[in-house]
């Protein structure tokens, strides 16, 4: 009996990082050279989707330190200021987590709308900080709009995927 419990605990610990690993794959996948490089310009913000979902639905599966690590990986990969995305993701995680009790009671459409709002603020902050770093005026071009729209439209399927992953993780 004790062995079975221990085995189950070990399995749970092993699978605990699945959301993080899956999100890492989502971050790396669009940057790999596929011979269809036009896809990279419109790569959605998977890290924001992951941070929003897990801060809301299962904070223990993607805690703060893993969110920071995710942001650092993103910054190292994309050549942006190291720590910028981590800081903004941490802010997103903290705010969403603090309002968790209220948001979680809402229907999916409201949650989606809140995600839209969170993403807009997140992208505006990234744009402003990047512009401040390069000492230029922040400008929103077509690609930024495509990226925003794609992230918003990809939220429902990714939400569903994470939902089933969470269901599986809580079962084991």
């Amino acid at each position: 009996m004790a062995r079975a419990v221990s085995r189950r605990r070990k399995a749970k610990a092993r699978h605990r990082h699945l959301p993080f690993i899956l999100t890492c794959i989502f971050v790396v996948l669009p940057t790999a050279n596929s011979g269809m490089n036009f896809l990279h310009d419109f790569a959605p913000y998977f890290i924001v989707i992951a941070t929003f979902y897990w801060a809301l639905m299962g904070p223990t599966f993607l805690p703060k330190h893993l969110v920071i690590l995710l942001g650092l990986i993103y910054d190292l990969l994309h050549g942006t200021v190291l720590g910028m995305h981590s800081l903004l993701l941490l802010l997103t995680w903290t705010i969403v987590h603090s309002q968790r009790d209220y948001i979680i009671q809402q229907g999916f459409v409201i949650i989606w709308a809140i995600f839209m709002l969170v993403l807009s603020v997140f992208m505006a902050l990234v744009l402003s900080l990047s512009a401040a770093y390069t000492k230029t005026f922040p400008s929103i071009d077509a690609i930024t709009w495509y990226q925003w729209a794609l992230t918003v439209f990809l939220y429902p399927p990714i939400h569903l995927l994470y939902f089933y992953l969470q269901k599986y993780l809580t079962k084991i």
Binding site: T31, A32, S34, G35, D41, L82, T134
Partner: protein, 345 residues
């Protein structure tokens, strides 16, 4: 009893500290990240080291992740090729009939070129060699235009080297790891290239702005550039070699001149990194040189040009008439290291 009391106090202390740390964890993490961000801005070199190590780790993963996508893309291109295979075969057969004639012409022209060069005492200015690398990651996003290639310090690369492909100028190396490098594309907002227009010979600076077109800066007021004119690298400043095709002028509106790069960013798979030759007399130096480069014959300089230090011949010209002045045998047998920089001048 007293021991139990002290245990209780210690436990309580630990619980309180843990609770405080948990409450402050966000602030602690944020502070830590802020320090990293400030360090990244003020001391980019220290962060670049971390970035290059990360690149070396992630490059094999990116190569692996990109494989299925590449297979998918190659299957679709193979399918397209299979549809038009008969037409393509027919076209190639027709073209093939012209090949022997073209080959003869090429040989004649090559020999003529060599003869004229020897008459002029021409010294070859081929002072670069090429390292071919595969683009494993395209890090393009709205805020920058960068790519990752699978060659680094071990291939003899260093930051600042220029990347080209068969279409034209691609960019230059920003950070170099052991096995991988980060490439700043010419469309990035931080990219500046000194250029010259092919026909009107106007010098300008080509600037990227993260879009697909480039803008020309510092053109004179009464400029004569025209739409459709080719833009080449001028070689000013010594960072970019001269005469590399960059793009074509797409539009002129007042003083705003837009240039469309030749490189097809959507299908960027391989790049050639241009590095200066270390020693032209050393055959091992040009390890990844282009085939034409090996055909190039180094001609002797006229004796009057270098009276103090006669330049040793790499391959002596067989025709005695072409030689302006016969050189001592000892000089030919033992070339001095001064010969290599001479070629680069």
């Amino acid at each position: 009893m007293a021991r139990h009391g002290s245990d209780f106090t210690f436990r309580r202390f630990v619980v309180i500290v843990r609770a405080v740390l948990l409450r402050l964890s966000v602030l602690l993490f944020a502070g830590f990240l802020l320090i990293i961000a400030i360090l990244s801005v003020t001391r980019p070199d220290s962060v670049a080291v971390v970035r290059t190590y990360f690149m070396d780790i992630i490059t094999p993963m990116m190569t692996l992740v990109g494989k299925p996508q590449q297979w998918g893309a190659s299957i679709s291109s193979t399918w397209d090729e299979a549809i038009f295979i008969y037409q393509e075969n027919d076209r190639l057969r027709k073209e093939n009939t012209k090949v022997p004639q073209l080959e003869t012409e090429l040989k004649d022209l090559y020999l003529e070129n060599q003869r004229l060069k020897s008459l002029l005492g021409y010294v070859s200015d081929l002072k670069y060699e090429y390292v071919t690398a595969r683009v494993v990651g395209n890090l393009g996003q709205p805020y920058n235009r960068e790519a990752m290639v699978n060659a680094g310090e071990l291939s003899g690369l260093q930051p600042g080297l220029v990347a080209v492909n068969d279409q034209g100028l691609v960019g230059r190396l920003l950070e170099v790891g052991f096995y991988s490098s980060r490439l700043l594309l010419i469309t990035d907002k931080d990219s500046r290239i000194p250029v010259i227009t092919e026909n009107s010979r106007e010098h300008a600076i080509l600037m990227g702005d993260n879009s697909d077109v480039l803008r020309m800066l510092y053109l004179p007021e009464n400029t004569e550039v025209q739409v459709g004119e080719r833009v080449l690298s001028s070689g000013d400043g010594g960072v970019f070699p001269s005469d590399i095709p960059v793009g074509v002028i797409e539009s002129i509106e007042g003083r705003t001149v837009e240039v469309r790069p030749y490189v097809d960013w959507w299908r960027l798979e391989y790049v050639q990194l241009v590095r200066p030759k270390k020693n032209l007399t050393d055959p091992a130096a040009g390890n990844v040189a282009r085939p034409l480069e090996s055909l190039e014959m180094k001609q002797p300089e006229p004796a009057a040009a270098t009276p103090a230090k006669p330049k040793p011949e790499v391959k002596p010209e067989p025709k005695p008439k072409a030689k302006p002045k016969p050189k001592p045998v000892a000089e030919e047998a033992a070339p001095t290291p001064d010969a290599a920089p001479k070629e680069d001048e």
